[in-house]
C-alpha cells in the first residue's frame, strides 16, 4: 500500500503526459503514413495552438477560446500543407522535408516576434485544475481527463480509418498515390483531411499539456514535439496504435525515472530509447512490414 501511495502519482502523471504526447504523435505518424514526410513543423503548431489560447483567453470566455483554438489550429495546419508542402508534391522528398524545417523556424520566429520573447502565462481552465483524489493520491482533473480523452479520440480515429469511405481512401493513398488517383480519389482532399485530423489532435493535446504548466514560450513546442516524434518512431512510424503505445511508454518511463530521483536523466531516457530502437528494430514496434508481391 505504501508503494502504491508513493508511486501512484508518478504513474498517473506518466499516463497523463503520455496521452498528451500521443495526441501529438498521431499527427506525425499520419502525415508520414501518407506523405512519407516528417512534418517538423508539427511541434511548433502545437506551441502556436498554445499561444492562440493565451491571446484568445485575454478577450474571450474560456469555452469560446477553446473552440477557436481548435478551429484556428486546424486552419493553420491545412494552410501550411497548402502553401509549403503541396507545391512540392512532385519534388524530391528531401525538398519537402527542408520546407518543413523552414516552416518550423518560421513559426518559432513568428511566435518570438509576437510574444517579444517573453514567457506568456497560460490561462487557467478551472475545471481541469480541480484537485481530485484517486486511491489516496491527490492529483488534478487534467491528469485523469487526458488519458480518457486520448483513448476516446484514438478509438474514434481508428473507426474512421477502418469503417468510413474517406478512411478507406486514406489507407489506399498511403499505399499508392497513382493507383488511388485511378480509382477517382482526390489525393489532395485526402491529404487535407489528414492534416485536419493531425492539427485537431495537436490542438487538443496543447490545451491539456499547457494546462499542466504555467508559462509558454516560442520554444515550448520543441521538446514535446521531439518526444512525440520519438514516440511515433518507437511505435513504428506510420502506425497509429504504435504512436499511442510509444507515447504512453515514454510518458510513464520518464515519470518513473523522476520518481527514482533521477529527474535530470528523464529527457535523456527518451533519446537513448530512440537510438536503441533505431539500432535494434528500425521499423519500430508496429512498423510497416513491406510485403510487396511482384
Amino acid at each position: 500500500m505504501e508503494l502504491v501511495v508513493k508511486w501512484l502519482p508518478y504513474i498517473l502523471a506518466g499516463i497523463s503526459v503520455g496521452g498528451q504526447f500521443a495526441l501529438i504523435a498521431i499527427g506525425y505518424t499520419m502525415v508520414y503514413g501518407i506523405l512519407r514526410l516528417i512534418n517538423f513543423a508539427h511541434g511548433d503548431m502545437f506551441m502556436i495552438a498554445g499561444l492562440i489560447m493565451v491571446y484568445m483567453a485575454t478577450a474571450l470566455p474560456l469555452w469560446m477560446s477553446v473552440i477557436l483554438v481548435l478551429i484556428i489550429t486546424v486552419v493553420l495546419g491545412c494552410t501550411i500543407e497548402r502553401v509549403a508542402y503541396r507545391p512540392l508534391r512532385q519534388a524530391p522528398r528531401m525538398s519537402i522535408m527542408i520546407s518543413a524545417i523552414g516552416v518550423s523556424y518560421f513559426l518559432q520566429n513568428m511566435a518570438l516576434y509576437v510574444t517579444g520573447g517573453l514567457t506568456r502565462t497560460y490561462p487557467t481552465i478551472e475545471w481541469l485544475q480541480k484537485n481530485i483524489t484517486i486511491m489516496g493520491a491527490s492529483t488534478k482533473m487534467v491528469t485523469l481527463i487526458t488519458p480518457v480523452l486520448t483513448i476516446v479520440l484514438v478509438i474514434a480515429l481508428v473507426l474512421l480509418i477502418k469503417r468510413t469511405k474517406i478512411g478507406m481512401a486514406m489507407r489506399a493513398v498511403s499505399r499508392d498515390f497513382e493507383t488511388s488517383a485511378l480509382m477517382g480519389i482526390d489525393i489532395n482532399k485526402v491529404i487535407t483531411v489528414t492534416f485536419i485530423i493531425g492539427s485537431f489532435l495537436a490542438a487538443v493535446g496543447s490545451i491539456l499539456y499547457f494546462s499542466n504548466y504555467t508559462g509558454i514560450m516560442p520554444t515550448s513546442g520543441s521538446m514535446p514535439g521531439l518526444k512525440a516524434f520519438v514516440a511515433a518512431v518507437f511505435g513504428g512510424i506510420g502506425s497509429i496504435p504504435g504512436a499511442v503505445v510509444g507515447a504512453f511508454v515514454i510518458g510513464i518511463c520518464e515519470n518513473i525515472i523522476k520518481g527514482l530521483g533521477l529527474t535530470t536523466f528523464s529527457d535523456a531516457f527518451t533519446f537513448v530509447l530512440l537510438i536503441v530502437i533505431l539500432m535494434v528494430k528500425p521499423t519500430g514496434l508496429f512498423g510497416e512490414k513491406n510485403i510487396d508481391k511482384v
Partner: protein, 234 residues
C-alpha cells in the same frame, strides 16, 4: 467514341509519344501491341491524365478530355487497370472492389456490380475478406480487373493483364475480357502477348518507339508477314 489526335508526350528529354492517332469505336476490343518502351503504357496514362501532354487532343464522345484531372476522367467512364495489378495489399478483396466504386453513390448499383464481379471471378467471392496482398498473382490480376469494373466504365483499359501469369490463367483472363465486351464495355488492351491479344481484338494498332506503325483488323494483322516476324515469333 474515344479519339486521340496527334498526341505528343515528353518525359524529361525523351520524346515518348510522337504524334499518336488512335480510335476506339463502340462495342469493340481494341488492342495496342508493341515491344517494351514503345509508349503503350504512356498512351494509356495520357488518356487518364497521369502524364503531361506536350500537344495533341483526346476526345471522348465529342468532349475534349485532354487536360482533365484523373478523377474526372474516371467520372467520364474511362478506367485503367494498371500494369502490375497494383491492388491495395492491406485492403481486403471486398474493400478493393468497393474502392473501385469510389466515385459512385448508388448503393444498389454498387452491390449489383460487386455480385457481377463475383460471378466473373468466383475465386474473389471465396476470398472476399482476405487481404489482397495475400492473393496469388493471377488472383490479384482478377481483382484488379474486377476493381476497374466497379467504376461502371464505358471504356476499360487494361495494361498487360497477362504479365507474369501462368498460361492457363492467361486463357481465363482473356475469356473474361471477351465476356466483359459482351456486357457492353469497350476494351482497350495493351499486350506483349500479341497472339492472344490479336485473337480477341476487333481492331489493333502496332506501336514502335512512340509512333503507330500499323493498324488493322485483328485477324488481318495476325496474317501480316511483318507482324508475324516481329511479334508472333513465326
Amino acid at each position: 467514341m474515344l479519339t486521340i489526335k496527334e498526341l505528343h508526350v515528353h518525359y524529361g528529354g525523351i520524346h515518348a509519344l510522337r504524334g499518336i492517332n488512335l480510335e476506339v469505336a463502340d462495342g469493340q476490343i481494341i488492342s495496342l501491341i508493341g515491344a517494351n518502351g514503345a509508349g503503350k503504357s504512356t498512351t494509356l496514362k495520357s488518356i487518364m491524365g497521369l502524364v503531361n501532354k506536350t500537344s495533341g487532343t483526346i476526345e471522348w464522345n465529342g468532349k475534349d478530355i485532354t487536360n482533365l484531372a484523373t478523377r474526372h476522367v474516371v467520372k467520364e467512364g474511362i478506367v485503367l487497370c494498371p500494369e502490375g495489378r497494383r491492388v491495395f495489399p492491406d485492403l481486403t478483396v471486398e474493400e478493393n472492389l468497393r474502392i473501385g466504386a469510389y466515385l459512385r453513390n448508388d448503393k444498389e448499383g454498387i452491390q449489383k456490380d460487386k455480385e457481377w464481379v463475383y460471378e466473373l471471378f468466383p475465386r474473389m467471392k471465396e476470398r472476399e475478406w482476405q487481404l489482397a496482398g495475400t492473393l496469388s498473382g493471377g488472383e490479384q490480376q482478377m481483382l484488379a480487373v474486377g476493381r476497374a469494373l466497379m467504376s461502371k466504365p464505358k471504356l476499360l483499359m487494361l495494361d498487360e493483364p497477362s504479365l507474369g501469369l501462368a498460361p492457363l490463367v492467361i486463357k481465363d483472363i482473356f475469356a473474361i475480357i471477351k465476356q466483359i465486351k459482351e456486357a457492353g464495355v469497350n476494351v482497350l488492351l495493351i499486350e506483349q502477348n500479341a497472339k492472344a491479344a490479336l485473337e480477341i481484338s476487333d481492331y489493333a494498332y502496332v506501336m514502335e518507339t512512340g509512333i503507330i506503325t500499323m493498324s488493322g483488323k485483328g485477324k488481318d494483322l495476325m496474317n501480316d508477314e511483318r507482324v508475324k516476324k516481329a511479334y508472333l515469333g513465326e
